[in-house]
Each structure stands twice: as structure tokens, then as C-alpha cells.
Amino acid sequence: MLNFTLWDILSNLLLAARWTVLLSLIAFVSGGAAGLLLLVARVSPLPPLRIAARLFIEIFQGTPLLMQLFIVFFALPLIGIETTAWTAAAVGLTLFTAAYLAEIWRGCVEAVPKGQWEASASLALTFGEQMRHVILPQALRIAVPPTVGFSVQVVKGTAVTSIIGFVEVTKAGTMITNATFQPFLVYGLVGLIYFALCYPLSLSAKALERKLNVAR
């Protein structure tokens, strides 16, 4: 039987953690962009857009990420897109992130006093101009801490992509466990790697929140 040293296990987990980080970044950036579009639709003056955005958000917040990934994985081929674990994971996590960020940011937009909308409307700004010059700059400031806080959920969400066969740190942990028969050690290390990725994000979210409260 082969023997695995602690370093063998840890180094392989850390190599796999690259993909966790990369997938998190992709999901966060593209999810953020999609979330911004969704947010604009959610607060737009056009009822059909508002309703569609609301429906999207309700559906993605009311169903498990795992089911979303499965559906993306099996539905994309139906519209002629070949799915790999990569595309399914990236698309699934992007949609999930977009729904949550749009809802978080909506709270921030609504925190901007109504008078600001009215004042900018009285200056004859269009909806787009109001958003760009008056509302978003103010909402953005409030939005930073919860957005950083949510990034933790994105990193943790990538663990679920292991189930559709994306090899990141959780999947690597499962594979290494199957070879070493040391689940306690391996999953313990996997947990610690996630903690090392997420805890700094949690801390900075908390610090940003404190800073913002002092500034107010």
C-alpha cells in the first residue's frame, strides 16, 4: 500500500484550491455584472421588467443551488450548448450570485432617501441619469460591506459544484479520501482551507461596516 504524508495531502488540496478561487472570482465578477442589470430592472419604472426581475430573484433564492446547477448542467445541451463541469459551474454560480446581489443591492438603493429621487426627477433627469448620477453613487457606499460579506457565500457555494464533477478543493478532498482512507484528516484540512479563504473576507466585511457606521 502507498503511504501518503501529510504534505502530500495538503499540497494536492492546495493545488485544487486554485480552482475554488478562480471559480469564485468568475462567479463573483460575472454575477456582479448580471446582478447590476437585474437590479436596474428590479427598480425600473417599467412594470414588466420589474416583475420579471422579481420572479428571477424569487426563483433563485427559493431553490437549492444544487438543483440550479443540475438544471443548468442538463438544460444547456437542450439549447445546443455543450456542457462541461466548468461551464455549468460558472453559469450556475453566476445566476445564483446575480440573484442574491441584486436583492442585497436593492436594499441599498432603497436606503437612499426618497427625496433624492424626487429632487433629481425635478431636475428633469431620466431614470438612467438618476441611477447613474444620483442614486447609484450613494447606494454603492452602503453596498460595499454586505457585498464583501456575500462573497463568503460565493466561495462556499463553489463546494456544491463538486457534485456535478467540478474538481475543486471539496472534490479533491473526496478523491484524496478515497485513496488515503483518512476522511477525518482530509475533510478537516478542506474545512481549514475554506476557513482561510473566507474568514479574511468576513473580517473585512465587519471592518467596513464599522467604518461606515462611524462615518455616518
Binding site: 426563483i59 433564492q61 427559493g62 431553490t63 437549492p64 443551488l65 444544487l66 438543483m67 440550479q68 443540475f70 438544471i71 442538463f74 438544460a75 437542450l78 445546443g80 463568503v152 462556499k156 457555494g157 463553489t158 463546494a159 456544491v160 463538486s162 457534485i163 471539496t170 478532498g173 473526496t174 479520501t177 483518512q182 476522511p183 477525518f184 475533510y187 478537516g188 478542506v190 474545512g191 475554506y194 476557513f195 473566507c198 474568514y199 468576513s202
Partner: protein
């Protein structure tokens, strides 16, 4: 090539889906009761004057909140047997869900407790109430009323998160979906239906919590 949808083949598997939904509801119900109880205890410990206890619970909260539920589940189901603790699939699922919800609800309830005005606690003390009495009668009620919407959201998240328990072969709704698609080879239809069922469960759960909130808190639940 147009795909022809066929949901009719799912009809044969109705009992499997019903079992799956029942298990998901059961897992969620048990872990909600135990998890919120753990959260109340945790919040009491975190806000207590006994420093080591507060620090210990703080570490538990941070550790759980910064690691994925799936990894917690795997650690409990696959890892604990190394220590001689062997759990059935549903036991491991419940334990993982309780520990997970316990950490989040500790933090949520603590926020509610810290929002309680100091004067109320002093008023309770001036009536000769003991510490635990003050916590139970003065602090906890208003705190729960305040954080009820946040707690509701967290319970929904835990219910949805239970879908990954299929990975340790706990026979809940996702497990049922996997089981069916491995037989009728209609993964899209099966997962679509399972997702719709989860959505219905989430809406139902919010409704139940809304009802409970209105019953339990006379002044109504504050809207966050």
C-alpha cells in the same frame, strides 16, 4: 433539434417524490427546532459575562459560518467514524443541519439581544429578577420578535441547503430526483420538478413562519 419534454413518465415515481418531500420536511423541522434552541443557548453564552464561554461560542460561530455546509456534512459523516462515532445518514444530516443553523441563529439572535435597550434589563433587575429570569422574560421575547424575518430566511436557506445531504445518501428530495433520473433518463424534467417542489417548500416555510410570528409576538413582527 427541438427537445420534446415528457413529464408524464414522472407520474410512476410519485411515491418516491412524496417520500423525498416528506424527508426534506422532516429533516428541516427537526433541525429547525434543535438549531434555534442551540442558537438561543449560543446567543446567551455569547452575550454572557463568562468570557471563556463567549469566546468558545464565538469560535464555533466563525468556524461554521466560514466553511461550506457540504464539507461540514462530509466531516461529520465520513470523518467522525475515525473517532468511533458512526451515524446513520439521516442522523448525520440532522446533526450537520443543527450545527449549521445553530451557528447562524446564534449570530442572528445575538444581534436581536444587543438591540434590547439597557434600561429594560435594569428595570428587570430592579424588580428583583435573576439573570436567567431577565433573559427569559425581558430580553429574549423582544429579541426574537425583532429578528424573526432574518431567522425565517436562515431556516429557508438551511432547508434548501439540505439538498446536498443526498451526497451522503440521506433519502430526501434531491436524492429522490437523482434516483428517478437514473431510471427514466429524463434528468431535465426530474430536476425541474424537484426545483419547483423546493420552491413550493420555501414559500410554504415562509408562510408557516409568518403565521407563527403573528401568533407568538402580540405586537407583530418588525419588518426588516
Amino acid at each position: 433539434m427541438a427537445y420534446s419534454f415528457d413529464f408524464s413518465s414522472l407520474l410512476d415515481y410519485t411515491p418516491v417524490l412524496v417520500d423525498g418531500v416528506a424527508t426534506t420536511i422532516g429533516l428541516t423541522a427537526v433541525s429547525t427546532v434543535l438549531g434555534v434552541a442551540l442558537g438561543i443557548g449560543g446567543a446567551a453564552a455569547r452575550t454572557s459575562t463568562v468570557k471563556p464561554l463567549a469566546v468558545l461560542v464565538g469560535a464555533y460561530v466563525e468556524l461554521i459560518r466560514n466553511t461550506p455546509f457540504l464539507v461540514q456534512l462530509f466531516f461529520i459523516f465520513f470523518g467522525l467514524p475515525s473517532l468511533g462515532i458512526r451515524l446513520a445518514e439521516w442522523q448525520a444530516a440532522v446533526l450537520a443541519m443543527v450545527i449549521n443553523l445553530g451557528a447562524y441563529s446564534t449570530e442572528i439572535i445575538r444581534a436581536g439581544i444587543e438591540a434590547t435597550p439597557k434600561g429594560q434589563i435594569e428595570a428587570g433587575a430592579s424588580l428583583g429578577m435573576t439573570g436567567p429570569q431577565i433573559f427569559r422574560y425581558v430580553v429574549l421575547g423582544p429579541a426574537m420578535a425583532k429578528i424573526w424575518p432574518a431567522l425565517t430566511s436562515q431556516v429557508v436557506i438551511v432547508m434548501l441547503g439540505s439538498s446536498v445531504c443526498s451526497q451522503i445518501a440521506a433519502e430526501e428530495l434531491s436524492f429522490a430526483a437523482n434516483f428517478i433520473q437514473s431510471r427514466n433518463f429524463r434528468p431535465f424534467e426530474v430536476y425541474f420538478l424537484a426545483t419547483a417542489l423546493y420552491l413550493a417548500l420555501a414559500v410554504g416555510l415562509r408562510w408557516v413562519f409568518g403565521l407563527m410570528g403573528r401568533r407568538m409576538f402580540a405586537k407583530g413582527v418588525s419588518r426588516a
